[in-house]
Amino acid sequence: MIFGYAGKFLEVNLSTGVSEELKFDDDVLREYVGGRGLAAKILWDRLGGKWESIDPLGPENILLFLTGPLTGFFPGGRICVSGKSPQSNGVVGSTVAGEFGVELKCAGYDGIVVTGEAERPVYLFVKDSDVEIRDASHVWGKDAKQTVAVLTKECRELLKTRFPQKGEWKEPAILYIGPAGESRVRTAVVAAKWTHAAGYGGYGAVMGSKKLKAVVVKGTGPLPEAADMEKVEQLMQDVCENAYENELWRRWGTGSAGYEVGAKTSSEPVRNWQDEWHDEKSFGVDQFENRVWIKQYWGDFGCPTTCLKIAVVKTGRFKGAITDNPDYELQAYLGPNLGVFTPEENVFLTALIDDLGLCGIQTGNVLGFAAELFQRGILTKEDLDGLEPRWGDAEAFAALARKIAFREGLGDVLAEGTYRAALKIGEIKNVNVMQYAVQAKGIGIGAHGIRSGKDYPQIYSYACSVQGGDHTSIAYMPLDSADSELDIMFHDSGVYCWFNAFELSRKFKFDFYNAVTGVELTQEGWINTKALRILQLQRAMLLLGGPDLKWDPKMHDENPLRFYEPLPSGPYKGKTVDKAKVEEDKRKYYEAVGWDETGIPKSETLRKLGLDDVDKALEKLR
């Protein structure tokens, strides 16, 4: 057994109610590590042969909650949620912060594999080796804060009743969905602690389709044994000291970007990306903070950075709204992207999105899309049941977000996410609206534009990524650079927070992995073999796609059309993306990752990585 792992997984079939232990060979764990890498492996092995026919929202999909060997040890606990994505029809390794991964490992499991679907709403309660599928009808329909309150109380009562000799029980960790996940909204999240979300991928809808309201875990054991605990302790200390030094992330989280990415790098979505520049100073550091933050430092297990803060609106129309910072992404997507420029309105919308269990990025993206169609007269007040989503009207956007969460009226169409909604609205209105859909492979683009050329994503980054518009996983050359999704895949597979790894040496994470697991791993070994293999699996499943949509690289390895429009204002006014250069860079990227000129992984690449069965499955695409 490799150090750092609990040594077993839990598999639960919600159709039969049967749960059992599951193990993976050390070889599999060495190659795929955990989290995102292992998710790709499990999904390919189990569903690869029939991938195109698997409905992500059907009982055949597999929902995964996976830790990695570094979970709990590397400061900043996370858990990776995956499965066939209802957004991309591929695989997204979506991670969320909190204590869930730590509790799970302390309960003796490295992950949970959920298959089938329940007849009635249920939640899964895991206390060490005791696994129970419990009725969730009393929390079905409840928002995030209510769900957390009810389940925290109920499960602590259960623990107290069953194990009265313990004394007072701490709360268990909870992953849950809100009403949006229950309604199978494709922009629904798997959430933790009110505001933390595994957003990209849309796995809240998968939980909803399985009628799984929540997973609650309490583990009373220690974290698994590490190969060299003394070294691990030293490395943990290094991470902490580095973070304490790093004023920007610790003090502001990503919050300072609310001003800077708009004003300086000019790459922030403004009014559905019609612009990427704004100079609104109320979104800048202490101006934002002083109006709404009531808790300056808020962290998860072991985290020295505490990039999260808590915001409460204390006065005015939106009094009582509670959320985290919001972080940069939600500042942007539920702020300037909707023409909203005051912190209080931004906090109000973010709190609502949390409560409904929606993804702030994906929902902000589709709300912006709808508002632009309204601006252009393509969608009317009648189409929207009387709503008029004008830029900056936070209450109108809130009403539309509720319609999405409950799939009411046009909300039912928008609940499909921007790409699918664009197809549908185009059909209904008989006009092509895809030019207003700012997405890649069914996933709305994260709030970092490419037109100014001053932000980190490159002009091919979203077009070629195996996770589409996900700004936390982008295509980047050279492949071994810190921004490349091959490198980032290690954070998502070791499953820890890479915000705590900023400014550390590139080698550091592999030293940490080695100290925990006892397994040697080099940067080259990771990038050129292991990560590259995971990338090919993700690419293969993304291209096989189905059942409702498929991606043809010739058409869909492409930027949103908006990015070819010149920036209308700001310091980079007039700048745009050169399509010929995108094509040239794409060819270089294909070559670098071993794909043919049409973007399909080459036989040679796949065979070299031992993926002969993938090669065979891709024959039909060539």
């Binding site: 204590e99 804060k145 701490k170 962290g299 020295p304 204390k314």
Partner: protein
């Protein structure tokens, strides 16, 4: 941080807690040589998100837990004034839990004995990491003749107060 060979007390400012739980990690590493949140003598409760706080021995001036122990497994350190658990003698009966106004002592997850903070014999590891992080939730001070028992409170009570302090009236809805 020097080891203090005098009666000390861990001063606490609960509302500053970030919920980072480094105190739990440091405590369990020191006492159990493992990262083991449930075996930590100091435990961070989060009954409501955002309302995290450490829950650990308040070293009451009359030590009701020590008084309640039927087998004399608990004693008071002459050096630090901490409660010491003699694990060989402790039967895990739980009477100290019931005697504590905050029900702070809790059972070791796998061993049959109670867990109570012993101030790491004068060098509390939780304080060290909390200070390192500049959170200042925990601080070492000399023990005085104060009513420390006031700090021994149930997690629910502390949560209820802090939730309202942080979130206002709405804080009541989350319990």
């Amino acid at each position: 941080m020097a080891k203090r060979r005098e009666p000390i007390w861990i001063a606490r400012d609960l509302s500053k807690c970030s919920g980072c739980r480094r105190c739990e990690i440091a405590c369990s590493l020191f006492h159990e040589k493992r990262m083991w949140p449930e075996a930590s003598r100091i435990r961070v409760f989060m009954l409501v998100p955002g309302v995290e706080f450490p829950h650990f021995c308040a070293q009451c001036e009359d030590y009701p837990c020590v008084q309640a122990c039927p087998v004399n497994a608990l004693s008071i350190s002459k050096e630090t004034s901490a409660v010491l658990v003699n694990v060989e003698v402790c039967t895990g009966c739980g009477q100290c839990i019931d005697a504590c106004p905050g029900r702070i002592p809790h059972m070791h997850p796998t061993e049959n004995h109670i867990l109570i903070c012993n101030l790491c014999n004068g060098e509390p590891q939780c304080v060290k990491v909390c200070q390192e992080g500049l959170w200042n939730v925990l601080r070492i001070v000399s023990r005085k003749d104060f009513a420390y028992k006031l700090y021994a409170r149930m997690p629910e009570e502390i949560t209820r107060d802090l939730a309202v302090k942080i979130y206002g009236e709405k804080g009541r809805e989350f319990l």
